[in-house]
């Protein structure tokens, strides 16, 4: 379905709501094409091809809001959804904090976000690439036991219209591959992982992904047990990005307004290292889910979340509802239907941590006794205002001694304040990898507190 058709649908639904008596109305029409080939134990075991279309209707009647999401575009379903949204609004109490749907704003469409070939990729293409990844990984060593992973291709598109005149649209194609390699030597397993997130299948280098995952895997067998404690740490981009996805809650307006954000208690303070510069910019092509507008059709603003280590009120990201509560303008951070999210509250999915000049080799050379972390796993927030996170290392954790990686170590549990961890940055990599929600370099930090060891 074309973007223009989606746009017509959204406008039509808005007009319908208008006609039925809504004070304000907004309609978002979206489509999601998700084709994914998944493999494990060195063969394809799941393989799906799905198409989903949906329409969200939001109507306002004297500050009473009705909200409906349906998965159909036929006229009867749309009419019924509009009527139901109005019915919900009629029976709802007023939301005095609601100010208005966003006023229309001009935006510049982004070029090069959609590749037709990627969006309509054949299952044989994904299957053959899965097979190739399996072959490359097994070719790394004869003790590679199993290869797992997935290759996803597809597209997302949405158009949003509102009764104030907003009329915006965006689309992207998506290609993502992840490979996990399991090796085994004398009963001891080693795991390795690598992934790539792109908008074009041309950017997916299957051989390189499989090779990197296999390399980590074969080097991870027969790990030693490292005693918990504070260690210098080198965090690979995958680990940095996952930790930032939790740190980013501090920049979300709902957390800020509720008083649970660490930013609230550190306004104007340098909470991170002075070389730590983090932004969220939905139009930065280095990030994955690029879009000129957010899910409400508001142009995406680049927000300096952390500038020279300092956070302040300008670090906070808003949608129209939460900005209205403070009499501010939306920063264009309403959830985007690209990944089928409809709030509540803003989303940060385009973070970029500025790279510097260090190579990973230099970081290792500068480490006396530390840990190289390839990935974090199952990270959760233990204390929001202090940004204490817990989680584990995974798929390649190594001991560094006197400037060299010497041994693989068992997965470690960390529990630490990531305000402290990222205040203690010693080196920032010149590499910059695009992960799903953030594009980041490798970081070397002066300490990460490990509080436990996994048994296997």
């Amino acid at each position: 379905m074309s973007l223009e058709t989606l746009s017509e649908l959204a406008q039509k639904a808005t007009r319908l709501a208008d006609k039925k008596g809504a004070d304000q109305a907004e309609a978002t029409a979206f489509t999601l094409v998700g084709d994914l080939t998944r493999f494990a134990n060195s063969q394809i075991h799941q393989n799906v091809a799905t198409y989903k279309e949906g329409l969200r209707i939001r109507v306002v009647l004297k500050k009473r809001i009705g909200d409906i999401v349906i998965a159909a575009f036929d006229p009867h379903s749309v009419e019924s959804a509009v009527s139901n949204a109005i019915k919900i609004a009629r029976f709802s109490p007023q939301n005095e904090l609601f100010k208005s749907l966003p006023e229309p704003k001009k935006y510049a469409p982004l070029k090069g976000t959609f590749d037709r070939k990627t969006a309509a990729c054949d299952p044989n293409f994904r299957a053959d690439n899965a097979k190739r990844a399996i072959e490359v990984a097994h070719g790394k060593a004869n003790f590679v036991k199993a290869v797992a992973g997935s290759y996803m291709t597809g597209s997302s598109a949405f158009a949003v219209a509102n009764s104030l005149g907003t009329n915006a649209k965006a689309q992207i194609s998506l290609a993502q591959m992840a490979v996990t390699v399991i090796s085994e030597k004398e009963g001891s397993e080693g795991h390795g992982y690598y992934s790539a997130f792109a908008r074009n299948i041309k950017e997916i280098d299957v051989d390189a992904i499989a090779e990197k995952a296999a390399d980590k895997s074969v080097k991870s067998v027969q790990p030693i047990r490292l005693e918990p404690g504070e260690y210098e740490a080198i965090l690979a981009p995958d680990a940095v990005a996952l930790s930032l996805s939790y740190v980013s809650n501090g920049f979300v307006s709902t957390w800020f307004q509720d008083g649970t954000s660490f930013v609230k208690y550190n306004l104007g303070k340098q909470v991170f290292h002075e070389k730590f510069n983090l932004k969220d910019d939905g139009t930065d092509m280095a990030t994955l889910y690029v879009s000129p507008v957010d899910g409400e059709g508001v142009p995406k603003q680049a927000i300096a979340l952390v500038k020279d280590g300092v956070v302040d009120e300008k670090s906070i990201c808003y949608d129209s509802y939460t900005s209205g509560k403070e009499g501010k303008e939306s920063t264009g951070h309403a959830s985007i239907p690209f990944y089928e999210a409809f709030g509540p509250g803003p989303d940060l999915v385009n973070m970029v941590l500025a790279p510097r000049d260090a190579s990973v080799e230099e970081m290792i050379k500068e480490t006396k006794q530390g840990v190289y972390v390839s990935r974090f796993h199952y990270v959760r927030t233990v204390n929001q205002p202090r940004m204490i996170l817990t989680g584990l290392t995974r798929d390649g954790t190594f001991l560094i001694e006197n400037g060299e990686i010497t041994k693989p170590v068992r997965n470690l549990r960390f529990t630490d304040s990531f305000l402290d961890v990222y205040k203690g940055i010693q080196m920032i990599g010149k590499d910059q990898e695009r992960q799903e929600l953030a594009t980041v370099p490798t970081l070397k930090v002066s300490k990460l507190r490990f509080t436990g060891v996994s048994e296997q």
Binding site: L36, T37, R38, F39, A40, N41, S42, Q43, I44, H45, Q46, N47, V48, A49, Y51, K52, E53, G54, I65, D67, V69, I70, A71, A72, I88, S92, P93, N95, E96, L97, D122, P123, N124, A127, K131, I134, A148, G149, M152, A178, T180, I182, Y193, D258, G259, T260, G343, P344, H377, Y378, T381, V382, P385, T390, L392, R394, N411, R413, T415, E455
Partner: protein, 483 residues
């Protein structure tokens, strides 16, 4: 909903040469209500209807799904499923085999009294507003955010298979909760009732939500949040730990539910959630916990959020012991994984998908810790020194489900058989078999079903609703106070 579309899809793939196929035609309705700080923050209804066609062709799986419910689209989707299966076969090592399952023709519905979708919005919002305002009123100075939640879900699905199964099933669940956040000088403390993360949910009608009596518990919930501000921090020590049901439910979920999933144990989730320390060589012999520990996967448990009549392969709901007197005796499985291990009773009936467009995967049903022979109060009276922890706040576990760490909203220091004082920032950590091996008592008078509607698994990610029947239990020599 008519079976015609499903039959059309089945005929299409059978004609093409599929050796097995099933079709799920599903309609899901949802309602989410959230009142926060005196205003209706979220009033949202949703509907998703679609069809998913799962096929085995040339010994490999393919699935295609669509939300376009027109005959031509259904035929195209069925053809695509077949094509995807053929593509899968380009990288297969062994052919998919399914364990035997009866091809049932049946109609089933979870039981409910008042249809939660038919109760007026005004009534539900009034109940939420009352609870939220009551929580807020506890302390205008300290309670900075108060929220109340209601959620309802109705799923009707038709399941037809090439083996002759025709099942028409309806699942209805609902529930909710209330929470209060107290803040003073940057110290943020939250309390929730009857559970954190939006409350508790059962397969039941609106009467279940009413029985929670959010309004009646809101004051106490908020009061405890304010009391936590003045509480001491949980000490860092190794001690006796008593865990209440609203935390133990998640402990069971993470450290027993997931590692007993056979797909994980066989490596097919290795790329995302991970594998399992409970490898097949341990089945029937491995000591998972103390003899006090009995855990089952029971899809027949009344009210459980993981209760249904048939799973998404048409296998009838079963009650399967997983841990018997501490010994690991069974997996949760599917027809394919059961065949791989030649499990004599076949699938445990745990294949579930979160939408018609998703591939069914091995999922928890209701993973229940069976009641022991203690009263909950006796557990405290019998404990000289220890900590009682309540209501989950954070959770994390490694990719083999061994090393875990949980945090709770509230905790009490226990001295000489009584609750001495409330403590905050409580966390505990352990290694799964050692931890369950240290369980020396399970209560029986406070056993009930806890619903977890947000269990994530699979690629692409799926979110499933599962249940946990648990009570209070006691564990010795547990490390607490990590953060």
């Amino acid at each position: 909903m008519s079976k015609d579309f499903a039959r059309v899809a089945l005929r299409t793939v059978q004609k093409l040469g599929a050796s097995y196929a099933d079709v799920r035609y599903v309609r899901i309705e949802t309602e989410n209500l959230h009142v926060k700080k005196g205003v209706p923050e979220e009033i949202r209804k949703g509907t998703l209807a679609g069809i998913g066609v799962r096929v085995i062709a040339n010994g490999a799986w393919g699935l295609a799904g669509t939300t376009i419910l027109k005959r031509a689209s259904v035929v195209d989707t069925a053809k695509k499923a077949y094509k995807v299966a053929l593509a899968s076969a380009r990288a297969k090592k062994i052919d998919v085999k399914l364990s035997a399952a009866p091809a049932k023709k049946a109609k089933y519905s979870t039981s409910f009294g008042k249809d939660p979708f038919k109760v007026s919005l005004e009534e539900k919002l009034e109940a939420l507003k009352t609870a939220e305002r009551t929580a807020a009123a506890e302390s205008k100075q300290l309670i900075k955010t108060s929220s109340s939640f209601f959620r309802a879900h109705r799923e009707r699905k038709l399941f037809l298979s090439s083996e002759g199964a025709e099942i028409d099933q309806t699942i209805v669940w609902c529930g909710g909760g209330v929470s209060a956040t107290a803040i003073r000088n940057g110290d943020v403390q939250i309390r929730s009732y009857p559970a954190s993360f939006r409350g508790n949910f059962n397969t039941a009608g609106y009467e279940f939500f009413e029985s929670l009596d959010l309004g009646g518990h809101a004051s106490e919930t908020a009061r405890e949040a304010t009391q936590l501000l003045s509480a001491e921090k949980c000490p860092s020590t190794t001690t006796t730990l008593i865990i209440a049901g609203d935390q133990l439910a998640l402990q069971v979920h993470e450290s027993c539910g997931h590692p007993t999933e056979l797909d994980r144990a066989l490596g097919t989730e290795a790329d995302y959630a991970g594998t399992s320390f409970l490898t097949p060589d341990k089945l029937g012999t491995f000591r998972y916990g103390s003899p006090k520990v009995n855990i089952s996967a029971d899809a027949t448990a009344p009210g459980g959020l993981g209760t249904f009549g048939y799973d998404d392969e048409g296998v009838p709901a079963r009650n399967v012991p997983l841990i018997k007197e501490g010994i690991f005796v069974n997996y949760q499985s599917s027809r394919e994984t059961a065949a791989l291990l030649n499990l004599p009773k076949g699938s445990s009936g745990g294949m579930r998908a979160d939408s018609p467009l998703a591939m069914p995967i091995v999922r928890m049903t209701n993973i229940n810790l069976l009641p022991g022979d203690w009263k909950a109060e006796e557990l405290i009276r019998d404990t000289h020194d220890g900590v009682l922890m309540l209501t989950n706040k954070s959770w994390s576990i490694d990719d083999k489900r061994l090393n875990f760490q949980f945090g709770t909203e509230a905790a009490w220091l226990i001295r000489n058989g009584s609750k001495e004082k409330m403590i905050k920032q409580a966390t505990y950590t352990g290694i799964t078999p050692q931890f369950w091996g240290s369980c020396d008592a399970v209560s029986n008078d406070d056993w009930h079903m806890h619903g977890t509607p947000t269990c994530g698994k699979g690629v692409p990610g799926q979110v499933m609703y599962v249940g946990h029947g648990v009570s209070t239990a006691r564990f010795r020599d547990v490390r607490v106070g990590i953060a």
